[in-house]
């Protein structure tokens, strides 16, 4: 039991933490992390080299931990706005289960740790990209863009789009046009995904003071932007086949998925907010999640067949 000099006791020191390991795992944004792991894995599989399986697994863990560290730094900085939004109010810092300083220390430690491990066991190109991703998400997006411009998730989306490029670099040590296309698919997918959410959570973002596109430029403008980005995503989705690093079957699946994305975005544009329950926006948001998972799953299948199937 701790014996503490009386003069050193203050209000905060008098409380012992009730945070469990689960709370700290919650700081890492496990759902975002699972998407990062999945897309980074696809990047590794598509890369034109065969890594040692164990080193590949450790690289995946390092990428996942690095992404989680960025999430912890985001939760440290954004605790004030997380507390006023229903989607984020139950995160460990706004709930008071983890002190902001603990989240900061945890995030910084894991950031350095993950980058060093990836550098030592894979290569420093991949480690540099991971470090850039963490910096971009925590500093450029969270601390700067998120509260200052409606283009926040457009530019900040680069952080979420980098994992397949890191996975590719972990295997090859290079950044190529192919890995850039994987980056581009997620980068262009991010704005319509988050703006669909922002269209039916406009009030919450407004209350939190986050200048999302619907709050700043209006919902009609946002709907047009969503449609434009959906078209770009659909075109970009078939680029792997056009550029020759994915097969025709993938191209057909990607075209169908892209068509679906454009269709759901068209419904949002055509509805123009007439549906008070925001069903078109909610449907687009749901489909966008399916789209990203499905298109990377299709790339994964294509890559595995190319590697082992013939």
């Amino acid at each position: 039991m701790a014996l503490v000099e009386r003069e050193h006791i203050d209000e905060r020191a008098g409380r012992l933490s009730e945070a469990t390991a689960g709370d700290f795992i919650g700081l890492l944004k496990p759902r975002v992390m699972s998407l990062v792991v999945f897309t980074a894995f696809v990047g590794m599989v598509l890369a034109p080299a065969t890594p040692n399986p164990l080193l590949a697994v450790i690289s995946m863990i390092a990428i996942a931990v690095g992404a989680g560290a960025a999430g912890a730094l985001n939760m440290w900085y954004d605790a004030d706005i997380d507390a006023v939004m229903s989607r984020t109010a139950k995160r460990p810092v706004p709930l008071g289960r983890i002190e902001p300083g603990e989240a900061l220390g945890f995030g910084l430690f894991l950031s350095v740790f993950s980058v060093v491990i990836l550098g030592l066991l894979a290569n420093w190109m991949a480690a540099g990209l991971l470090a850039f991703t963490i910096f971009f998400y925590a500093v450029v997006y969270t601390m700067w863009l998120k509260r200052s411009t409606p283009q926040n998730i457009v530019i900040g989306g680069a952080a979420g789009a980098l994992p397949p490029m890191i996975g590719w670099a972990a295997v090859t040590g290079t950044v190529t046009l192919e890995s850039f296309v994987l980056f581009l698919i997620i980068f262009l997918w991010t704005p319509p995904h988050f703006w669909a959410l922002a269209l039916f959570k406009t009030d919450e973002y407004g209350r939190a003071g986050v200048p999302m596109m619907p709050n700043v430029a209006g919902k009609a403008h946002t709907r047009r932007q969503i449609f434009a980005y959906a078209v770009l995503v659909a075109v970009c989705g078939v680029l792997p086949t056009v550029l020759g690093f994915a097969g025709l079957a993938y191209g057909i699946v990607a075209a169908a998925l892209g068509g679906g994305f454009v269709w759901y975005s068209w419904r949002v544009l055509r509805d123009g907010g007439a549906d008070k329950n925001a069903q078109p926006e909610k449907a687009l948001f749901g489909f966008s999640l399916v789209y990203l998972f499905a298109i990377f799953a299709a790339l994964l299948c294509d890559g595995l067949i190319a590697r082992f199937g013939g």
């Binding site: 008098g14 040692n52 164990l54």
Partner: protein, 62 residues
């Protein structure tokens, strides 16, 4: 938010912190998680070192 656990001693001074059951359970949970994470880390790093450096890692001149 965890409660304030400072308990007064015989002199009425609050110089000791007595953890509640919830806090002790949480601390035990965190300790086990740290132990498991460290064990996994050590095993993975050992195996990775062997993979990365190969059997020659044992052939160093002393």
């Amino acid at each position: 938010m965890p409660e304030d656990n400072r308990k007064p001693n015989d002199n009425g001074d609050s110089d000791r912190i007595k953890p509640t059951k919830a806090q002790l359970n949480a601390r035990r949970n965190r300790s086990i998680a740290i132990a498991v994470a460290l064990a996994i880390f050590v095993i993975l790093l050992y195996l990775a070192s062997i993979m990365k450096l190969g059997p020659a890692v044992f052939d160093r001149a002393m």
